[in-house]
Amino acid sequence: MSAEDTPKDYSESPINLEYFYTAGSATTRFLNQVKEGNIVGQGCPKCKAVYVPPRGSCPRCGVATDIEVPLTDKGCIESFTVVHIPIPGNPIVPPYVCAMIRLDGANISFLHLIQDIDIKKIRIGMRIQAVWKPKEEWTHSLENIKWFAPIDEPDVDVATLRFQES
């Protein structure tokens, strides 16, 4: 029997739900800046930790992060992994590097891609900078940054990245 003839041991039950997502005010403020090519973190008034991308709160203190903190698009790799499987719906061809990006002045990292590098040379602590899509393609998303690429600056000791409440 060909594959189609084998009696299916299941029946299909299609479920399709439509939703509207509305970005909260903290996220909207951040994405409006990203649309213009700026990265603006949000700081905690109590412990001064800077969050990017911000969710509107500092889980250390349980308060709203209402201080706007402009950041550069430079930073370092806090850690990374070389991925050998594709991302559903993303044209990128494995192997590619997915890294925890720690922007200068930020106190948490976020996941993004690393390109323009020989994968064997990738290491924790490397200095990197964002490579942006052409300005006319910018939307409200960190996908405006195509990936991060290495820059010629001395490595960072990631142990120093651990946030300490001053």
Partner: protein, 148 residues
């Protein structure tokens, strides 16, 4: 609060074609629908549940014995929809109803169509109307119609 024009609002979809396995009792029920027969399960105390339930709500026993019921039955309750919504399967005015099929002790939630609201009341006799194609799902019963 940012006023609405600054809000970032975008639609998104949560969609999947789930793969349901029915298990022994329900597979037998769905197989029978393929032959335009409706089955129920009978408990040790003789109570018949249709559509064929896997477990008895009161005694918690698992139910295995199958009996045929229907295809006719009486309306235990119904709710009439004059303007169906987009995800309703029937586009003209219809009713959701609890139908106690002949030979069953519990009633089946399904739909009644091809009639007017005034035709329906608790106790009205209805019978199964089968869909043209059978893919061994509850929708093989297209809806119920008034018994002639």
């Amino acid at each position: 609060m940012t006023d609405s024009k600054d809000l970032l609002r975008a639609p998104f979809e949560l969609a999947y074609n789930y793969k349901r396995s029915s298990g022994p009792v329900m597979s037998e029920f769905f197989e029978a629908l393929g032959q335009q027969k409706i089955l129920g399960t009978k408990s040790r105390a003789g109570k018949v549940f249709s559509p064929a339930a896997e477990f008895d709500p009161e005694t918690h026993e698992s139910l295995k014995e199958m009996v045929e019921v229907g295809p006719g039955g009486s309306v235990e309750s119904f709710s009439w929809i004059e303007t169906p919504q987009n995800h309703h399967l029937i586009k003209d005015p219809f009713a959701f109803a609890l139908i106690k099929l002949d030979g069953a002790d519990s009633s089946m939630l399904h739909m009644i169509a091809d009639c007017n609201e005034a035709d329906l009341s608790i106790g009205t006799r209805v019978t199964a109307a089968w869909s043209e194609t059978s893919d061994k799902r509850i929708t093989d019963i297209k809806f119920f119609t008034l018994e002639k």
